[in-house]
């Protein structure tokens, strides 16, 4: 992991190329992308907002067949980045190259290379699941017969056949999301850009999504760019992940590689019954290094420090104030915090 450039794709990700000689088979290259939202003047009821640099020199390399994640809290610039990749927004400066096409100069080509699942479903809400998938396929350039055939295959694959006749509006949030994902898959594209695809889904639907993604990768070497703020999902499905914070990529590696950076640490979570017993000196000493959110403290400590801390809080006066505690190996959330991430609530573990 350490011998190759920090931003390069994994070797040997092509089935026909086990040695990884196609290391440079890059699908998507982003260089120095900058996007600034202008300052808004105060209007009645709305305060003045300053200029926001949503993307501040973002650079990415995504290899063929990779499942590449953009991880970060809300407002980190993830959606702004994918909107520029999909031709929905023009960057102030920088380049976006997808499969050899310059998408800054030709944003209209994005729709012919990329299948995009956005966060909004309003365009499809009043259609039935079947018609949403079929219409999207037709608008992706498929003929009528082909669109219907692909619609049936995709609905079957995702377990949506039973809901085919129901309007999206009448479905639960997770089912609606799955139906929109189905629409994204009709009319195959070599690159999929999915903006938080599994929001609100139950485990069965999530598994259907990842199985469908894996199948497309195995059969067509599809490349997937995924936006997520769910660290568990990021750890389990991504090949590589770029961590975004305030418009910048603060790290980019495999989830395992990222976690190695905090390998020497143990995560200690303490939950107090009412409030922390700060009159106990050991507890007062821990407070300085704790991420404090009310009754819940999160500490990242060296193993021996963690042992001492657990001994301190599980004995004597502190223990009676303790509701719950956990010890765990670090997750990507800890990586994010260790890298200097500031948001403590933007990331989700589910």
């Amino acid at each position: 992991m350490s011998g190759r450039p920090w931003n390069a794709p994994r070797p040997g990700t092509r089935p026909g190329d086990p040695l990884g000689s196609s290391l440079v088979s890059t699908v998507c290259v982003v260089r120095d992308l900058v996007k600034t939202y202008p300052a808004a003047r105060a209007r009645r009821g709305l305060p003045e907002t300053p200029e926001v640099r949503a993307n501040d020199g973002v650079g990415l390399h995504v290899g063929r067949g990779e499942i590449f994640g953009l991880l970060g809290p809300n407002g980190a610039g993830k959606s702004t980045l994918v909107r520029q990749l999909t031709g929905l927004m023009r960057p102030d400066s920088g380049t976006v190259d997808v499969l050899g096409h310059d998408l800054v100069r030709h944003p209209e080509r994005a729709s012919r290379l990329i299948g995009y699942l956005g966060q909004e479903s309003t365009a499809l809400d009043e259609l039935t699941v079947a018609l949403a998938a079929e219409t999207t396929g037709r608008l992706r350039g498929l003929g009528a017969r082909r669109a219907r055939a692909e619609r049936d295959t995709v609905l079957e694959e995702l377990g949506l056949t039973g809901l085919a006749g129901r309007p999206l509006k009448k479905l639960s949030g997770g089912q609606r999301r799955l139906a929109c994902f189905a629409a994204t898959l009709v009319g195959e594209r070599p690159v999929l850009v999915l903006d938080e695809p599994t929001t609100g889904m139950d485990p069965v639907a999530r598994r259907a999504v990842w199985a469908a993604v894996d199948r497309r990768r195995a059969e067509h070497e599809a490349t997937v760019l995924l936006v997520t703020h769910n660290v568990i999902e990021a750890e389990t499905v991504l090949d590589r992940v770029a961590v975004l914070e305030r418009g910048k990529v603060i790290a980019c590696d495999t989830p395992a590689g990222l976690k190695e950076r905090v390998a020497g640490e143990v995560r200690v979570e303490l939950v107090w019954r009412e409030r922390a017993p700060l009159d106990v000196p050991e507890v007062a000493a821990l407070r300085a290094s704790a991420q404090d959110s009310g009754r819940r403290w999160v500490l990242r400590l060296a193993p021996d420090e963690a042992r001492a801390a657990v001994a301190a809080v599980t004995g004597g006066e502190a223990f009676s104030a303790l509701d719950d505690f956990t010890l765990a190996t670090p997750s990507l959330e800890d990586v994010y915090l260790a890298l200097g991430g500031h948001a403590t609530k933007g990331l989700v573990k589910a």
Binding site: G87, R90, G100, R112, L127
Partner: protein, 277 residues
Amino acid sequence: MSIVPAEAVSARVRRAQDARVGGDGGIAPLAPRARLLPALAAVYRAQLSRARVARIPLLFVATFQSVGIMVLMRGVVDGGAEARAVVAGSSVLVVAFVALNLLAQYFGQLRASGGLDHYATLPVPPAAVVLGAAGAYASFTVPGTVVTAVAGSVLFGLPLTHLWVLAAVIPLAGAALAGLGAALGLLAPRQELATLLGQLGMSAALLLGVLPPGRLPEPIAFARDLLPSTYGVEAFARTFDAHPHWPSVALDLAVCAVVGVVSLVVATLAYRRAAVR
């Protein structure tokens, strides 16, 4: 200095690039675009299906509103040219309600909620989206307009002979008003403004279309001439004559058609602008 012609070099480069298609760093082939007519048909069909979920109650509202207005006006006008104006105006009002008002609201909402992203990330011609939606909304007006026209004719004792002219009035007035509605919805900077403009447009069509023109003050009569629905109303009103003056009818409908083309072009441009920010 090179003695190789630039074209030859660029041709060679292009061949080299073509050879690398699908290869490392090469230029991948683009998936085909959706063609205009199939895409238009797909959008039209999808929009039409929305009626089952969302539009039918509103259609009843539009029809009852127009029939109600005619019942009210029965006490005010006493047959003749004024009755024709009321029936024609009420019928075209259904078109204005749905095609102008509801379509402006739909596009305003779609734009505000980010729903346009869906279409903007598909290789579909902008005209297909605008024309498909406008066509569907114009189609929604057919039953309400026919019911209003028949009910009005019976109510005021007008002949039903030339009601077939609705087959031309609905699509042409529909194109003009739907184009206007789409343009307003896509150009309005905020969703509330789109709704407001749609409602204003419909109110204008109501006041200027239904009230007999002879009773309007001069400046308002001028405003009436500027409203595209007026020409649909006039064309329809003329056909209640026993022997309508067909060239005048055709002229009025031609105005609708021209306004329709212009406003749909404007709406298509507005869509392109709204889709990529």
